[in-house]
């Protein structure tokens, strides 16, 4: 077990390193520079700025310097969007909003999606199942921005007489959170309910369910205690990276509802070529996702003790 964990952690570190290098080269391969704006500065100014931030050196040298800084936990300062403010500080400022919306979204997605999946599996073949299947299939076919804009339009005054929620985001107003969370959690909810249904159908047809039924257990106990526990593996597999992703990157939802979160900032930092900020946010998001993947792999063992971790994934 310990050997397995060590191996996985090593893998995670390598992955993170690959992501850092990849991002660094990609970012530097993008033509254009952070200094080009409406009033383009003179060549001398650009050279001076490049020299100041070390952008005049070869990419590989820059990468080495950056990695060295990273080892000292220095994420550098933003060079454009919020000039000279530490990247870590910016992330620390942006992340809570994204995380708040992400946590609520993923929570409602789990709390609704998993039971709906169970219900569909339990009532397989009835109209309940068909209805739920139609909803979830439509749900996973609608891109996030479609759901978000639809909600934005219909519930913030687009329909006559329906003006339930504010259209602009105010961090202190709880009503501002309803629509972003609804739209951010919709896709995972539908996906989860589909996954749960398939996995539940699989586990309901097993012998031990028959045994449980023969013992005279109540339906609820059979479904939630016996069947669901064995159906959780695919659900957890999906949830791990999804949680990380939802927590920090509601790219679309943050754009649609103009929420000052990390996802929106990441997209803006790319268009602005704010190199340290791109690197900082990418590393943060990537590390988060990689760690969640790791946690999921370790959770398998907890959920299903039959899984032999040391043998690897296959």
């Amino acid at each position: 077990m310990a050997k397995y964990i060590l191996k996985r952690v090593l893998m995670a570190v390598i992955t993170l390193f690959v992501v850092i290098c990849l991002t660094f080269f990609l970012m530097n391969a993008v033509p254009g520079s952070p200094w080009l704006s409406e009033r383009s500065p003179s060549q001398a100014t650009i050279d001076a700025l490049n020299a100041k931030y070390g952008l005049d050196k070869p990419v590989i040298v820059q990468l080495g310097m950056y990695l060295n800084d990273l080892l000292h936990l220095d994420f550098r300062d933003s060079i454009k969007m919020q000039k000279d403010r530490p990247v870590l500080d910016i992330i620390a400022n942006m992340f809570p909003i994204s995380a708040k919306i992400g946590v609520i979204s993923i929570l409602w997605a789990i709390l609704v999606g998993v039971p709906l999946g169970c219900l569909a599996a339990y009532r397989r073949g009835t109209w309940v199942d068909s209805l739920l299947r139609v909803i979830s299939t439509v749900g996973i076919s609608m891109p996030g921005f479609v759901v978000a804009t639809l909600l934005l339009h219909t519930l913030t005054g687009g329909l006559p007489g329906v003006n339930l929620f504010p259209a602009t985001f105010v961090a202190s107003d709880w009503r501002s959170y309803v629509l972003p969370c609804l739209s951010l959690g919709f896709y995972p909810m539908c996906y989860l309910s589909r996954q749960t249904r398939t996995a539940m159908l699989d586990s309901i047809s097993q012998e031990y369910i028959k045994t449980a039924r023969a013992k005279g257990l109540k339906n609820g106990k059979i479904i939630f205690k016996h069947a669901l526990r064995n159906a959780l593996i695919p659900v957890i597999t999906y949830l791990g990276p999804q949680i990380a992703f939802t927590l920090c990157g509601g790219f679309v939802v943050e754009t649609v509802f103009t929420i000052p979160g990390l996802g929106r900032y990441f997209v803006q930092s790319i268009t602005n070529r704010d190199y340290p900020l791109i690197m900082g946010t990418t590393i943060f998001l990537a590390a988060f996702i990689i760690i969640m993947n790791l946690v999921v792999d370790l959770l398998y063992k907890l959920v299903d003790p039959r899984i032999n971790l040391s043998k690897g994934g296959d």
Binding site: M11, A12, I14, T15, V18, V19, L22, T23, L26, M27, A29, V30, P31, G32, T137, V138, I140, S141, M142, P143, G144, F145, V146, T149, L150, L152, H153, G157, G158, P241, F245, G249, F251, V252, T255, V256, F266, V267, I270, T271, I278, T282, L285, A286, I289, I290, N293, G313, D314
Partner: protein, 435 residues
């Protein structure tokens, strides 16, 4: 020796030699050619069903999948044939067509409306001019009536109520006033079915072109994923051992890379590189880039580089199972090389899985492309895609909601139908159901 006849122990499984010898007692006519009647008996009553025919038969029975297929074909016609029929192009700015709605009022109705909105003085002036043409002057009573009527009408600022009062109804399809005039002159003008956008570009054509972009992206990405995934997966699965271990570690690393992040970055990186390449000369490759557009190609590559992982895993799993089969051993014994075994024996035997996975890649690529375009990282102006149309519509959402809903609906229906058909395809091709 005869008394030393082999005694068979009770329960022994040793075969009786006498018995075996008698197997060769063939009937006298054993080596005569079969009669035509006998031959006819060997011919099967029905034609043998090929794998694809069988799958197609099952697929045809699946109503949902067939409906989805019909809608996909209709959408494909809309996307590929549509732009040839409509006489406008996606970047053509039609004069005077800024922001026109997908409905119009006839010229007469517009005149009536503007007449009704005139101030008393304007109404009197207009009536006097009209009377002068007819060669008479207005009486003071007439002037007073007009003035009073106009006063009532102009105080009524609610245009909608006014329209209702005058019985003016909107007619479907958008036309500019210029086009209405030309129609009145007896010319045929192609309507702006979905209206025009803020710059006066026909929204229907843009939707068609956007849908075309989405479909091309989906299909090309699926093909790239198929090629890379099949190659990588089959080599990894077939070679096994150390090669497999190293290749699978690479897959694991790519698997954990947050894909959206890298696609966003890759898209932004590759686009200018291809633009530069496009302008660098006039070879066949450069022309190809021009035809597809640099941003589309960069999206293909970004997708292809990340999404082949799932495909390669599925194919590797299949190959691992299949390579233990006797026919592979037989092929190897006959001296077939690895490449031949993979391409002639292994891949054709997991074709069902490959087709299904490739097909389901199409909607997922469309999904991601629309997301990229919506964030402004996909295709760039003046080229359009359904995602970027939605993003453009966001600013005028309250006044022109249909500009968002039309591309959004087409996008969602497209992905939905592709998903449904892909599910049907999987059910039809899944060999486990074939028993």
């Amino acid at each position: 020796m005869a008394d030393k006849k082999h005694k068979k122990v009770l329960g022994s499984l040793q075969p009786d030699v006498e018995d075996i010898l008698s197997w060769n007692d063939l009937p006298a006519n054993a080596f005569e050619p079969a009669s035509t009647q006998e031959k006819a008996g060997f011919i099967q009553d029905r034609k043998s069903v090929s794998y694809w025919k069988d799958a197609w038969r099952r697929l045809r029975k699946n109503k949902v999948a067939m409906i989805a297929l019909v809608i996909i074909i209709l959408l494909a016609l809309f996307a590929f044939v549509g732009p040839m029929i409509v006489p406008y192009s996606y970047d053509e700015v039609i004069p005077g067509a800024n922001n026109i709605h997908p409905w119009h009022y006839t010229l007469e109705d517009q005149e009536k409306l503007s007449e009704a909105q005139m101030t008393p003085d304007e109404a009197v002036a207009a009536a006097e001019a009209e009377a002068a043409v007819e060669g008479r002057t207005l009486t003071s009573v007439e002037i007073a009536t007009i003035r009073a009527k106009a006063k009532v009408n102009s105080s009524n600022t609610d245009v909608e109520a006014l329209k209702q009062e005058l019985g003016i109804k909107a007619k479907p399809f958008g036309y500019t006033n210029d086009e209405l005039q030309r129609m009145a002159d007896g010319e045929f003008v192609f309507p702006h079915v979905f209206g025009c956008d803020i710059q006066g570009r026909d929204i229907m054509v843009r939707t068609m072109v956007g849908a075309r972009v989405s479909m091309i992206v989906g299909i090309c990405c699926a093909l790239i994923v198929l090629v890379i995934g099949a190659l990588y997966g089959s080599i990894s699965g077939y070679c096994g051992g150390k090669v497999d271990a190293v290749m699978q570690r690479i897959v694991e690393i790519i698997y954990t890379i947050p894909e959206v992040l890298v696609i966003l970055l890759l898209g932004a990186t590759l686009k200018p590189i291809f633009e530069e390449f496009q302008n660098s000369g006039d070879g066949p490759l450069q022309r190809l880039v021009t035809v597809l557009g640099p941003n589309l190609i960069s999206i293909f590559i970004a997708f292809g580089m990340l999404y082949w992982v799932t495909m390669s895993r599925i194919i590797r799993g299949q190959i691992l199972q299949l390579k233990q089969q006797e026919y592979v051993t037989a092929a190897r014994a006959l001296g077939a090389k690895g490449g031949r075994i993979i391409s002639r024996h292994l891949l054709p035997n997991c074709v069902g899985q490959i087709v299904t996975t490739t097909f389901l890649q199409i909607p997922s690529a469309i999904f991601t492309e629309s997301f990229l375009s919506f964030l402004g990282m996909g295709v760039s102006a003046p080229m359009t895609s359904l995602g970027s149309m939605c993003a453009d519509a966001l600013s005028g959402l309250t006044s022109y909601p249909y500009r968002l809903f039309i591309p959004a609906a087409i996008l969602s229906v497209m992905i939905l139908c592709l998903n449904l058909f892909g599910d049907g395809l999987r059910d039809a091709l899944d060999p486990r159901l074939k028993k």
